[in-house]
């Protein structure tokens, strides 16, 4: 077990660096320059540009640049090209909002998804099941940007409610409750839209695995014992389906800090998705390398945790 973990960790670290190097080269290969000012700005003289390049090591060969960025990353000195601030601060300041959004979204998908899935499994084969599946696919097939705009326009034109950012502006809140609810509103709306796809896939998953469990022998035994259907459903079948979800918790780590660019842009929500997207457009190499590294590290870590949890939860799984 320990040897497994160690082997995996070593493999992951190696992989991490390989990924980091390759993505660095991909990013720097993309034509475009990381100047923070508009390129065709009449006020910028070539000397200013040369100074800028020197400051951010852009005049060195690529492999040196990579080495310097990695050195700075680990010594905590890595600065963003865009505004010369430490990259880690930029990432960390977006983290709380992102985590809040993603956590809420995960809670929404898990809870509604499970409910829908149980419902579908209960009435499997009947029209109710068909309706459940239909709704699930409805959610998956909705193009994210489209439905976001539809919802946003409806809310604004219909009700005139403020929806942007993390809270409403320029308003004197009468009490803490109103202010808290306001923040909650700004959080729940994008989280719900983000969660739609998750609800669908979660419900499909629960439904499938519950149907699978319901066919097992021990269920028939339970039925023949005369237990209520509800109890069978929830206590036994559901429990088995939950195991893989626990194993899947490992993958929650990267999901927590991932970002949905379109939703964040439309809702003006300050998340990691927009950070990455803007960093790409601005060719902010240090931020990109750091972000990639962190995300990749979390994915690999998440995989490891998933595998470990799987083994812990399900005796049939063997770690190689």
């Amino acid at each position: 077990m320990i040897s497994f973990v160690i082997r995996r960790l070593v493999l992951s670290v190696v992989l991490l660096f390989i990924i980091s190097i390759i993505s660095f080269f991909i990013v720097t290969l993309t034509p475009g320059s990381p100047y923070p000012w508009g390129e065709l700005n009449p006020k910028i003289s070539p000397e200013v540009k040369a100074n800028f390049r020197k400051k951010f090591h852009l005049d060195r060969p690529l492999h040196e640049q990579y080495g310097l960025i990695m050195r700075d990353l680990f010594s905590g000195n890595l600065r963003s090209i865009k505004d010369d601030r430490p990259v880690m601060s930029r990432i960390l300041e977006r983290l709380p909002a992102t985590v809040a959004l993603n956590l809420t979204s995960i809670v929404i998908s898990l809870s509604f998804g499970t409910l829908l899935g149980v419902f579908a499994a209960r009435y499997a084969g009947t029209w109710k099941d068909g309706a459940g599946s239909f709704i699930a696919f409805l959610f998956i097939a909705l193009p994210g940007f489209w439905i976001t705009y539809v919802v946003v326009v409806a809310l604004v034109k219909g009700f005139g409610v403020p929806i942007l950012g993390t809270h409403s502006y320029g308003i004197e809140f009468p009490n803490a409750l109103a202010s808290g609810l306001d923040t909650l509103w700004h959080l729940l709306l994008p989280a719900t839209i983000l969660a739609l796809g998750g609800i669908a896939s979660q419900s499909r998953y629960i439904r499938a695995s519950m149907i699978e469990s319901l066919r097992e022998d021990y269920i028939r035994t339970a039925r023949s014992k005369g237990l209520y259907e509800d109890v069978i459903l929830l206590k036994h079948a559901l429990r088995n389906s939950v195991r893989p979800i626990i194993a899947g918790i490992g993958m929650v780590l990267p999901a927590l800090i991932g970002g949905a660019v379109v939703i964040e842009t439309i809702f003006a929500y300050p998340g990691m998705g927009r950070l990455g997207y803007e960093a790409v457009l601005e060719r902010d190499y240090p931020t990109l390398v750091a972000l990639n590294f962190v995300v990749a590290a979390l994915v690999l870590l998440g995989n490891l945790v998933s595998d470990l949890l799987s083994a812990a939860v399900d005796p049939r799984v063997r770690l190689e």
């Binding site: 599946s133 604004v156 660019v261 790409v280 990749a296």
Partner: protein, 297 residues
Amino acid sequence: MQGTTVLSSASSAQESPAARVLRRFWSNPIAVGSFVLILFFALTAGITVLLSLTGHDWPYNPNLTNLELKLLPPSSQHWMGTDNLGRDVFSRMLHGASISLTVGLVAVAVSLGIGMVIGAIAGYFGGITDQILMRAVDALLCFPTFFLILTVVALLGPSLLNIVVVIGLVSWTGTARLVRSEFLTLRESEYVKSARVLGQGAFHIITRHILPNAAAPILVTAVLGIPDAILQEAGLSFLGFGVQPPQATWGNIIADGKTYLLDAWWLNLFPGLAIFIASLSFYLAGDALREAAESKS
């Protein structure tokens, strides 16, 4: 589905697996409905392309700009209104259908091709090969797919072909995983083991014995992958990295219309609805196919 049916029709005694799947598929009303929709899209796309190749445009030329007719709401002359350059949206939608469907099919073909090869090798040979390939798959998942797309599009130019290839390149991991697990299971089956003992080559075994049995899940993944590709292309167009003007795709009609959203709702509703319905049809069809393939009756 509880219990097994006692009666079975006499004619199903020696049904081939394929026929059995098809039968179950057709007996599912939702499956049939979605198949009809897909056919409808394919036909409209095909007919539109044929017509325009022979020089006839119906109802209008999708690229004909007419500034005097800017941003008109739907009417009897323009069923879906006009866009900001006066082009008929309905015609653009028809042409966009052919692009979206092409993207879906070709991207899936690319991702299927790569995924199958990698999954087959990993699943069949197992051991170290499998470990390495699967770690590589993990690695790809860590990749910022957005950069890859941006880089390819920037370096090679934003043509339809490049976009489709790139989408295919970033989507093969699901297929690879699926194929691998199928192969891992099927590798242990009796006839494969005996084929091995008989000394048949790996390639032979894979193509003759394993693949046909894995066909159903692979096909399902393919069908389910089409709407993903369509949605990806729409998303790309939306962010501005899609196909060049004046080419119309559902995604870029929405993207172009985004600025006028509050006033010109038809630029958003119709293409969005089309993408939605097309994706939905493929998902439902794919799901029904999967049910048909997996169910025990």
